[in-house]
């Protein structure tokens, strides 16, 4: 659904640009292509990493980490798994909902969802290309710590 929104936005922008200035539009597309080609090697590397990571860490495996009464270790494990995997939200949310119904704790699920979105271990090669090693590692480390703190807050808010 959100991808469709992106396409509509891009098509509208492109049409407007074409209407206003043909040469500039050509330049924009050239820049788009150059930016894409610039990052393509990292894209490909990430693709292979993600495919392997997702094969090992499927939802069945994940649910084992988030089970009932898994406590702080469960939260830690959940945030760890979330940090490594790269699952789109429309796949992750229904899975998380099923886990929640199956007895997983809201805190564990929140740790998983938050780290899934904010931390990207497999996309680090790409992030480093644009932000450098220092900033990329720092961002991911902070986001990981934060996802644990956020999980406690969400777990508390849900239990109210």
């Amino acid at each position: 659904m959100d991808t469709l929104f992106l396409y509509v936005l891009a098509a509208a922008g492109l049409a407007l640009s074409l209407f206003k200035d043909r040469a500039k539009t050509r330049m924009a597309l050239k820049k788009a292509w150059k930016a894409f080609e610039g990052i393509l090697p990292q894209f490909l590397a990430v693709l292979f990493l993600v495919a392997a990571a997702l094969a090992v860490l499927d939802t069945a495996t994940i649910s084992r980490y988030l089970g009932k009464g898994s406590g702080f270790l469960g939260i830690l494990g959940a945030s760890f798994v979330g940090a490594i995997t790269l699952i789109p939200g429309f796949v992750a949310f229904p899975a998380a909902a099923a886990l929640l119904k199956g007895g997983a704790g809201a805190t564990q699920i929140a740790a998983f969802v938050s780290s899934l979105m904010m931390v990207g271990v497999v996309t680090l090669p790409m992030e480093m290309k644009f932000f450098g090693r220092q900033a990329a590692l720092l961002r991911n480390a902070l986001a990981w710590l934060f996802s644990i703190a956020a999980a406690f807050f969400v777990g508390w808010a849900v239990s109210l």
Binding site: L9, L14, K30, L49, A52, G120, G132, L142
Partner: protein
Amino acid sequence: MKPLLKRYAGAAAAALAFAAFVLLFPAWRGKALDSMVFQTKTMLLVIPPIFILLGLLDAWVPREKMIRYMGEGSGLKGRVLAFLLGSFAAGPLYGAFPFAAVLMKKGAAFSNILIFIGAWSTTKIPMLLFEMAALGKRFALSRLAVDIVGIAVIAWAIELALPRKEVDRLYAEAEKTE
């Protein structure tokens, strides 16, 4: 630009590692190949519009405007704009990085870039609606509330911890990409 072979060395190494993984672990073979196909599809679907928008932004938004709206000294307005820009985006986080590079090249402040990345990663509006439906309003909204704080704190901490020299280097690097 570096020679083609050198640029793709990392990707080739990842491909070899993946091939070895698939050959050595038959138990995970099917799933690995399935997720490979799925991830490739997602990327092919998501990439074209993101890069077209990035190209349009690069071609049409003049540097002075970007500095005025999102540069150093753009204050709260710049922060809110960075946050909204990230929140209205769609697609996985890896789409945000090239986009952020264009914002940097145009002169957006580093703290605003960090807010943009944070918002893109976790407060996307279409995703929020979906999260509310799947995990409940209380879960989704409390996560949103704490995430807004987290994005600000993380941006502030990175800005504080990263030496000015490194930030300047990143901007010079972004400048180089055409």
